[in-house]
């Protein structure tokens, strides 16, 4: 067995036990390091705060997981989240609580649009979503007239529940938990979930086996858009503000969370549980950087480097004939 592992060489690093155990191991290690530098980190209150701050990142990363699992990428999630935040902030005074479904529905619509552009026009997903992301960003700017919109006193009655605590847990943590469990269930036990893994693992084989590849892809982009909008809505409610650039800094951490969690960028391998671990790693790194004294302005450097490192380790090179 050992000889066999040696013979495959570097592939050993991306073999299953490593892929499964490395991210949780890294998470525990990071928590221990932060606790050493800042004793008192591992307390109920601090951990709940970290969980609460991770919620939006986790929702965005879950959105991205569905697309990356298929072997694609969604670069429009930040624009969709920002648009949803603007819609929520503007519609709360008019529609009250119904602003939530409207804002989230907008995400669904643009997710489906990305999917259709990608599948019907046969455009690579990163270009399709760069384009739809541009369309959405323009609409968000237009809807907000280029400004940030504060959710006034009247609207805050409808955002209070997002910032509330239920059963001793922040409600955003409960929401993330619900989305996480639903995502896990969908990917593991529904036909769509299994098809997603199949398409990501090998599109021609999935197609030959009768999987409706196009419908699976469009559904994945629809889920991604919906969850991105949900993240935008939660973010707006937490900050009591909606803005066309609200989520602009959140796409890279979200993609990094997916990859660091162990989902392969090449598709076919990964789930929402890994993404939860990845999102927590990103959060702890962010918290840890301030404790260890890394300048917060440099955090993008750290995330960019982590992204490259994680892709290099998790990528399945046997699936790519020519790396372009």
């Amino acid at each position: 067995m050992k000889a066999l592992t040696a013979a495959v060489g570097w592939k050993g690093a991306s073999s299953l036990p490593f892929r499964d155990l490395a991210p949780p191991g890294l998470l525990v290690l990071l928590v221990v390091i932060v606790e050493i530098f800042a004793p008192g980190f591992v307390t109920r209150d601090t951990l709940l705060m970290v969980l609460g701050d991770t919620a939006v990142l986790f929702l965005l990363a879950t959105a991205e997981t569905f697309v990356i699992l298929l072997g694609g990428i969604d670069l429009s999630i930040q624009s969709i989240a920002s648009l949803a935040s603007v819609l929520l902030a503007q519609l709360l005074p008019i529609l009250g609580g119904f602003a939530y479904p409207v804002a989230i529905l907008a995400g669904l619509v643009f997710g489906i649009l990305s999917g259709i552009v990608h599948v019907r026009l046969r455009v690579p997903s990163f270009v399709a979503t760069l384009a739809t992301g541009g369309v959405v960003a323009g609409l968000a700017l237009l809807a907000a007239r280029g400004r940030a919109i504060t959710i006034e006193e009247g609207g805050r009655a409808y955002t209070a529940f997002v910032n509330a605590t239920l059963f001793g847990l922040p409600s955003v943590v409960l929401l993330s938990l619900a989305v996480g469990l639903a995502g896990f269930w969908v990917l593991r036990y529904t036909r769509f979930g299994r098809y997603s893994v199949a398409v990501g693992a090998g599109e021609p084989a999935a197609w030959a086996a009768g999987v409706n590849v196009n419908r699976t892809k469009i559904t994945a982009f629809a889920v991604s858009g919906t969850l991105a909008a949900l993240a935008g809505v939660v973010l707006a409610a937490r900050l009591s503000s909606g803005s066309p650039s609200l989520a602009n800094q959140l796409m890279l951490p979200a993609i990094a969370a997916v990859i660091v969690g162990g989902t392969a960028i090449t598709g076919g391998l990964g789930n929402v549980g890994r993404t939860a671990v990845g999102a927590l790693i990103i959060s702890i790194v962010r918290v840890g950087m301030t404790f260890i004294g890394v300048n917060i302005f440099a955090e993008n450097v750290v995330f960019g480097a982590m992204l490259i490192a994680a892709v290099a380790v998790t990528i399945d090179r046997s699936k790519i004939a020519i790396i372009k």
Binding site: R122, P124, L252, G267, K324
Partner: protein, 342 residues
């Protein structure tokens, strides 16, 4: 990203010549495709001029040229990478780094450096290094370019934010400000610099071995490799070249803005990709080039100028550009060559 292409198809650079041998009907179709962007540009210009004659005033045309300078310089770099069949998402990060290096080394209001034109050299070199890193990551770690450059995009952005302390630093060197403010033969110097970048790019594409190799690689990497081209070397050079253009663009952007901040590159990647794609360069690689991109940049700039003249909200511009990418890709992509689109 297309990971499998039909290897039996010819490398694209050959098709033009092949088509010429194949009779009239094919010529008209190929010509139609090649000149469609030029026709779009002309029709667009005529329509806008009809709607608002101010468009063809000299003053407005200079404004269009000025607005096109930075996007043109960036898009030159992006074109070479897209010709390879890869994508470079790092433009915004590399432009931010170039602008940051220039402003911090030239006379500014944050430190006492005053290196003058040496700062320009350093800024261009810094852009080149960013490109080299993208290339090294992609070829060395064997990672798809969109992931490698997504990483370097944010590394560049983070570096610029960190070095500038999260704020804006003003450029105080009058000679460097002059790039944007001084005029030569009626046009701002920055426009001449951008035209120079275009000329360099045109020479590289048409007259050098690197240019031919990039096209060959984009047309069919396996064939190119069997013909003795080293893909890794060509990729490294192409990404570095792109980085150098981003460095120049960073210098121009900082000089136009009179300062540098980390968001100096915001929206530039999107504009560059739109210009390249609208100009008719295929995302699959091997087809198109810097001449297409020049037309593409002009289409994008003329359209946004026209929308301002016609009183359309500037916020719609991104939406229109997004729709343009979709339309252009839908019309130009040679889908027969692709088996899987990811």
């Amino acid at each position: 990203m297309a990971t499998q292409t039909n290897s039996s198809s010819l490398p694209q650079p050959l098709t033009d010549r092949a088509v010429r041998r194949l009779g009239r009907k094919r010529i008209t179709r190929a010509a139609l495709r090649a000149y469609a962007p030029v026709a779009v540009l002309l029709v667009l210009g005529i329509l806008i001029a009809l709607a608002n004659p101010n468009f063809i005033e000299l003053r407005n045309l200079v404004r269009v040229a000025n607005a096109a300078a930075v996007p043109l310089t960036i898009a030159m770099g992006t074109t070479f990478v897209i010709l390879l069949g890869s994508i470079d998402l790092s433009a915004e990060g590399a432009v931010a780094v170039g602008a940051m290096v220039l402003v911090l080394l030239a006379r500014n209001d944050a430190n006492t450096h005053d290196f003058g034109w040496l700062a320009v050299l350093a800024a261009v070199a810094a852009g080149g290094i960013m490109g080299l890193v993208s290339g090294l990551v992609q070829t060395g770690l064997r990672i798809p370019s969109f992931m490698a450059t997504l990483g370097t995009w944010f590394i560049g952005l983070g570096l610029a934010t960190y070095m500038l302390g999260g704020s804006a630093v003003r450029l105080m060197d009058p000679a460097l400000r002059g790039l944007a403010l001084n005029r030569f033969a009626g046009l701002p110097v920055a426009v001449w610099v951008a035209l120079g970048a275009f000329a360099v790019a045109a020479v590289i594409q048409t007259q050098t071995r690197l240019g031919r190799h990039i096209l060959a690689l984009g047309g069919g990497e396996d064939l190119a490799e069997y013909s003795g081209i080293s893909p890794a070397r060509v990729r490294l050079l192409a990404f570095t070249l792109a980085g150098l253009f981003y460095g120049v663009a960073g210098v121009l952007a900082a000089s136009q803005l009179g300062q540098s901040n980390a968001v100096i590159g915001d929206g530039r990647l999107f504009a560059a990709v739109t210009a390249v794609v609208v100009g008719g360069t295929a995302l699959t690689g091997g087809e198109g080039g810097v001449f297409n991109t020049l037309v593409g940049v002009l289409i994008v700039t003329v359209l946004s100028n026209g929308m301002v003249l016609l009183g359309v909200s500037p916020y719609v511009q991104q939406t229109v550009q997004g729709l343009m990418i979709i339309a252009a890709v839908a019309l130009s992509l040679d889908r027969v060559r692709q088996t899987i689109v990811k």
